[in-house]
Amino acid sequence: MSAPSPLKVLPAEHSTEGIFDELKDIQRKHPKHYLPLKELERVAERRGLHLRDVHAIASYYPHFHLHPPATIEIKVCDDMSCHLRGAPGLQRTLEQRFQGISRDELNIGNVSCVGRCEHAPSFVINDRYYDGHTPEEAVEIVKNTMAGHPPPGSSYRVLDMRLESDPYGGQKPYSALREYASSRNWTGLIANLEAAGLKGMGGAGYPTNLKWGKVRKLESPQKYIICNADESEPGTLKDRFILTQLPHLVIEGMILGGLCVGAKRGYLYIRHEYEEQAEILIRELNSCVEQGLIGEGILGYPDLSFEIVVFVSPGGYICGEETALLEAIEGKRAEPRNKPPFVADAGLWQKPTVINNVETLAFATAIAAKGADWWKSHGANGAKGLKFVGVSGDVQKPGMYEVPMGIRYSDLIREYAGGPLDGRKIIGFAPSGPSSGYLPASMLDLPMDWDKLREAKSMVGSAAIVVCAEGRCMLDMAFNAVRFYRNESCGKCVPCRVGSQKMVEILHRWTQGRHHESDQQIVEELSHALRLGSICGLGQILPAPIQSVMQHFREQVDEHLLHHRCPAGVCFRGGKA
């Protein structure tokens, strides 16, 4: 007879599994919303972990507080889109209006992009999200919160709209799954994806058929498929949109992928800010279970089984890096691994693993349902297929759009996003948030095509299009983007941990009119070391914003460095590094 145990006994190598939920729970229930050391000791004891391991995790994720936060904790997003749409002013207003209040009671800080760029600026009060408010409205919201009546946060509801990429016209028949479960033509499915030319929509553009084909071939008693729904790059909105509008395509894609590669379990890794989407997914998953589409004996075939776990990220842009994501699921500090081994060979718990982006999986379902030819019938300017794009920044109608691949950025911005804000002239744009760097207006006629963008030293990426119009300082935008990376660097490797900070400091002094003679050479050298010497994509891509601005907006940079003036009148105002 054994004593009842509050937690299931976990094998030693999995003793950190589920630790984030436990920590979140403790923090939520604690009257001061933090994790006292005593509680961490208890967690360590219950799980048979060393104190240092629990502390290493708890101190890593900004979501966990090791000290009591302020009663009212305000965090303003000041990344790309929010920065363009008034975040600095909003923050200044809040700081002025609420100065003099003790830090224990009210604290104003920053948060990294929360994925609400089309309604910028965003801010968070005690885990409640508010979008698109003027500074004065924000002041009212804070006042109400202080009075104990926090207004409801902004929400994203399911919209009634038809999408071209939805093969079922608004229904949820899971036809592709039914067909492949019956035919078992998994190699045919992979061939279909290859014929359609489906690439990884998370940004890397790696052919999906190769990922699936590789893992399918590997012999292993355990394999996993993971849906990466941790989009956190400034400007990126598409996964939140897809998860809201087409959750069934994503789930169907995971089941198809799981069955195709021989995985018995899938993880849907979703960023913790997407609470509404997590609820939608869980509802859809429950409905799948009821219909026998998930679980043991899928659709009555006793040999087909697959389950999906919704894993809510403990937070941080770096978790979107696929190996950091794996570390997070394993309950560790989300620090990217050295590669190789690649995730296909040694992924989650060192087992063969497929990691696909939300959009990729939804498109895989669409292709499985309607075929490669249907997919290739879409597209423009020689490119094939569809793409979800988020357009934010200086445009009339920021938002999410489903567009043909190959569409010119100029057409996209004009036809879908209503053209530039207030009739101003566009001076530059980022095709995919900070990681694509900034391209000049002269390149607006580029088609959204993987190869063409690569030639322009940029990328289609996650299609987080951020538009900058007249009156913007591109050096300031480069500084903003690099600062985002510095804030989100995990700190594992030297170039990124130290280099990102030094880069921010150098760029900050440029925007403040302080410039050393050797600076430009140093930025070149540092960029070289980051690009080639960092462990993961974050460090490798970190120099892209400043490199692109140095290349395409040279005259703006020179005005700062040589003449100590900001042509846009944005810089030289102090501001934080």
Partner: protein, 731 residues
């Protein structure tokens, strides 16, 4: 993080234009090191799993970004355009590669308190050294604005967070090398640090001040606060500068050497002087710098034997030392011809002396595990030696360069003798051994690590180079330790001889070095040398027969019960009736008289009802008496221990036996000339030396009436059989 285990194959790589072949799974760093191509590194050190975080060792392998040589394993290339295409082409020293390294150093130096504590104290900050090489001492980057501070709460270790480069070496040292798990990273990004437990000051954390972190630290982040002086009776403590000049101490942390100032001394030994004697305790190891040392065993080869001498009127007992050829006991191992000693050699039992020269290390086992000296060491010529304590030896053993030299020496000089130590392998030709030398694998095992389990499929034959192998069999109710195999032993042959499953579990008792001969090479040997096969087969048959008997005995019975029962199986028991016994100790005296003054009878032990059962051996499940520096203690089939003739009388087994069933006997012998020469004129009259030998009580099995029974004036001592004892109990 290991990729799926696969048998290694040869992979071909080109490093800086040089063709190199290594086993797949070897890291680029190791492949380069073995070929003498230096790659700078900060976060990687010997004995730690690589993490690839400092990015100093990045190399160009033709991929989009550079790869960390320390962690990147070389694997066969999947798609080759032509068959002779290398699996990997590596460039370690191009301008762009060096530029990345220089930037990494400049970034670290921007925040480094130059010169740091380590550089100031011991001049071996690895960061500053590399920065100097790369011209990165002056960093062009802005310095850290807020210092990360110091933590001087520990009595021993000073933590300077501002010098920490987050290489994770201390973290792995604390956890992987020492099992302490105190240090980890905390925080994220540029604000990351090392932390102790839940972020406590080091002094109030669960840190046990083992010092492994500060020894592993490449910079002044973790250094020692004060110097502890280790005093030796003789010798001059070596100064840091002197040690750092010796190739032996390449890559050994200067902080460590400074902290351990005095733990290495230099001694000048005159020809004929003794360094130590066999059987002594001694916590140090020696390294020969100049001259030659004789290692020998002076104890005569033999065991203690008590004989009854009868005349017409009287009978008395006489105990003396005899060799196995004169008096052979059951269970004596006759195949052994050499004794392994605590140096890289075996001594012939016929003539147990060998000479070692410069660059030899000896006394390791005594130093690391406090075993008594297994042999005597005497200067054959005038010598200069280093004498070092355990911590210094540990540091050396962690040094891969040193270890590969030791391994090479072993294969060149000792391996052959090692193999020939047993008469079984005496017929192998030198040519064959030469061939084998290329093929064997040298492995290291940590205490407790299992080499193979009972029931595993056999795949290799092993020779023990260093440490003890615990051989145990599983029985219902627990496992029974059959033997502790010392250096010089071999195992794994039974399973390879056609009985494909391993018959026992073999694991490392302490730090063990093994030589592994693959199953294939072993079978090849058997084919070429039928004598070896025959010899081995006969031993194996015998061994298997014994195993079977033991198993038949034990089967179906929990092992504890069996061992208790083993008592009953004994041919005769010695029983004291405590009701009659007046505790006059006549029995004990009689026993002492019979055995040259050494009593083997302890009036204490297992009690059943009012009887006390004297026992010879308690058949411990895990008999630590078998951990013998010269491997002289074995189990017989009856599970009793037997002490071989090669016993040097150190007394380790007697001390380890919790029941006092092993006794030390002293005999005298004449002094040798070399010993006499060392004595002063006044002492020359004492021309006898004492010889000690261990022996276990055999209850006078070979005699009709044991002395104790004969001597008891109260009829309390009885010699009975198991059955008779049963009857006595019933009454």
């Amino acid at each position: 993080m290991s990729s799926p285990a696969q048998d290694p194959v040869d992979v071909h790589l080109v490093i800086d234009g040089r063709d190199i072949t290594v086993a797949s799974g070897t890291t680029i760093f190791d492949a380069a090191r073995e070929s003498g191509i230096p790659i700078p590194v900060l976060c990687h050190q010997h004995d730690e799993t690589p993490v690839g975080v400092c990015r100093m060792c990045v190399v160009d392998v033709g991929e989009r970004a550079y790869t960390a040589a320390c962690i990147r394993k070389v694997e066969p290339k999947e798609k080759k355009t032509r068959p002779d295409e290398p699996d990997l082409v590596v460039k370690t020293n191009t301008d762009p590669v060096r530029a990345v390294r220089k930037t990494v150093l400049q970034l670290l130096m921007a925040d480094h308190p130059t010169p740091c504590v380590r550089q100031r104290n011991t001049k071996d900050c690895e960061l500053e050294k590399l920065a100097h090489e790369y011209g990165a001492i002056q960093s062009p980057y802005p310095h850290r604005e807020v210092t990360r501070g110091q933590d001087d709460s520990s009595h021993i270790i000073l933590v300077d967070h501002s010098a920490c480069i987050l290489c994770d070496r201390c973290i792995r040292a604390c956890a992987d090398l020492r099992d302490n798990f105190v240090i980890a990273r905390q925080g994220k990004g540029y604000n990351a640090d090392i932390a102790f437990d839940l972020g406590k000051p080091m002094g109030s954390s669960s840190c046990v001040s083992c010092g492994e972190c500060m020894v592993s630290c490449p910079t002044g982040a973790l250094t020692n606060k004060e110097t502890i002086h280790h005093q030796f009776e003789d010798g001059v403590p070596c100064e840091l500068e002197e040690l750092r000049k010796m190739p032996l101490f390449d890559h050994v942390s200067g902080t460590f050497l400074r902290f351990n100032h005095g733990a290495v001394v230099k001694r000048h030994i005159k020809q004929g002087e003794f360094l130590f004697y066999e059987g002594e305790g001694g916590p140090t190891a020696f390294y020969v710098l100049e001259g030659h040392i004789d290692i020998f065993i002076s104890a005569p080869h033999g065991h203690v034997h008590t004989r009854e001498r009868s005349t017409a009127l009287t009978s008395d007992m006489h105990t003396r030392l005899v060799g196995k050829h004169e008096h052979q006991r059951e269970g004596e191992n006759l195949h052994i011809t050499h004794t392994a000693v605590d140096a890289s050699m075996e001594l012939s039992q016929e003539d147990p002396v060998a000479r070692i020269g410069p660059e030899s290390l000896f006394g390791e086992m005594s130093c690391t595990h406090a075993y008594p000296r297994s042999a005597t060491a005497r200067a054959a010529t005038d010598c200069v030696v280093l004498e070092m304590r355990r911590n210094v030896l540990d540091a050396l053993r962690k040094n891969k360069t040193f270890r590969s030299k030791v391994d090479k020496d072993y294969l060149e000089h000792t391996f052959e003798n090692h193999l020939r130590k047993s008469s079984i392998f005496s017929s192998l030709t030198s040519g064959f051994i030469q061939e084998l030398r290329q093929k064997v694998r040298l492995g290291q095992y940590a205490p407790g690590e299992v080499i193979f389990r009972q029931g595993d499929v056999a795949d290799a034959f092993y020779l023990v180079r260093r440490g003890f192998i615990k051989v145990s069999e599983a029985y219902p109710g627990g496992e029974l330790v059959l033997a502790y195999l010392p250096a010089g032993s071999h195992f794994g042959e039974i399973a390879l001889l056609g009985h494909s499953k391993c018959t026992a579990t073999c694991s490392a008792l302490d730090h063990v070095d093994l030589v592994q001969i693959s199953g294939e090479d072993f079978q090849n040997m058997l084919r070429l040398f039928p004598e070896v096969r025959n010899h081995l087969e006969s031993i194996c048959e015998e061994r298997l027969r014994e195993n079977q008997k033991r198993f038949d005995h034990v089967s179906g019975m929990p092992v504890d019960d069996f061992l208790r029962q083993g008592l009953m199986e004994a041919q005769s028991l010695l029983v004291l009736d405590l009701d009659n016994c007046t505790r006059c100790d006549q029995c004990v005296k009689a026993c002492a008289d019979a055995h040259e003054g050494v009593t083997r009878l302890v009036r204490d032990g297992l009690r059943l009802d009012h009887f006390l059962i004297a026992t010879s051996c308690r058949h411990c499940k895990d008999p630590l008496c078998m951990v013998c520096p010269v491997g002289a203690v074995h189990r017989q089939r009856s599970l009793d221990v037997i002490i071989d003739d090669s016993c040097i009388g150190c007394g380790e087994c007697a001390q380890n036996c919790p029941y006092g069933n092993i006794n030390m006997h002293e005999f005298t012998r004449a002094l040798r000339d070399d010993e006499l020469a060392l004595l002063g004129a006044g002492q020359q009259r004492a021309r006898k030396a004492v010889v000690r030998k261990a022996t276990s009580c055999n209850l006078c099995h070979d005699r009709k009436t044991p002395a104790c029974v004969y001597a008891c004036p109260h009829d309390a001592a009885h010699r009975v059989t198991g059955e008779q004892f049963g009857e006595m109990l019933k009454k």
